[in-house]
């Protein structure tokens, strides 16, 4: 595919099942990846809950989409960043997460955000 490769960052700040934002974001991330763009995904605030291990939605009769985050790697989406502060405020650690991520401070996330061509917020 021709054309310029742009840097796309998806900023996720919502918990997974209470609203549709998290699932919609995941769909759009996969679309961006299919267009061979330079994609990174950030989890801040309640967005960190999207990638908590051990989700089992059988009891609430909703689709469990948490395993799809593990498939992002196959679409060459490998830049997954998590706000260190957001994780700590929720009593969580990297071991509680379903995918390998890089923990970032707010200042580090600022720098990453400034590098982007396009930011999409969910």
């Amino acid at each position: 595919m021709g054309g310029d490769v742009k840097k796309f960052m998806y900023v996720n700040r919502k918990a997974p099942y209470g609203t549709i934002y998290a699932l919609e974001s995941l769909e759009v991330v996969l679309i961006g990846a299919a267009f061979e763009q330079d994609v990174s995904v950030v989890f801040i605030d309640d967005g960190v809950f999207e990638i908590v291990k051990g989700q089992d939605t059988a009891g609430i009769e909703m689709k469990n989409f948490s395993n799809t985050y593990k498939a992002l790697e196959m679409y060459d989406v490998e830049k997954l960043y998590v706000s260190k502060d957001s994780l700590e405020e929720r009593g969580l650690t990297e071991d509680d997460l379903i995918v390998d991520v890089e923990l970032k401070t707010a200042a580090e996330l600022t720098a990453l955000m400034e590098e982007q061509d396009v930011l999409l917020s969910f």
């Binding site: 919502k14 209470g18 809950f49 009891g59 405020e89 929720r90």
Partner: protein, 99 residues
């Protein structure tokens, strides 16, 4: 009275406001994203533990499991299922939903 809270306390102040307005002895049930309030070791934990001196705190099991936090619940928060939710609604004269 039974109070239900369905919003994450990290995003909305529904739980705070519920705790500030519920009468001592009330039952407070965390459902949907409200169950994140039951998370042990979070910045909300101390406030919940303090609230348990005045109220009985419940969390809906299926919502905890969906979110992967069923094994991270604060000690003393009672985990119930849908039938338990119905029981609570019947035992109490009124239900107030904090959205």
């Amino acid at each position: 009275m039974l109070h239900t809270v369905n919003k994450s306390p990290f995003e909305k102040n529904s739980l705070d406001t519920c705790l500030a307005h519920a009468k001592e002895g009330s039952a407070i049930l965390l459902i949907e994203d409200g169950v994140y309030g039951a998370l042990n070791g979070s910045k909300m934990t101390a406030q919940i533990q303090q609230a348990m001196e005045k109220f009985t705190l419940y969390a809906l099991g299926p919502d905890l499991k969906a979110r992967g936090i069923a094994d991270k619940v604060i000690d003393g928060v009672k985990v119930i299922d849908y039938a338990g939710f119905v029981d609570l609604a019947c035992e109490n004269d009124k239900v107030q939903a904090w959205l």
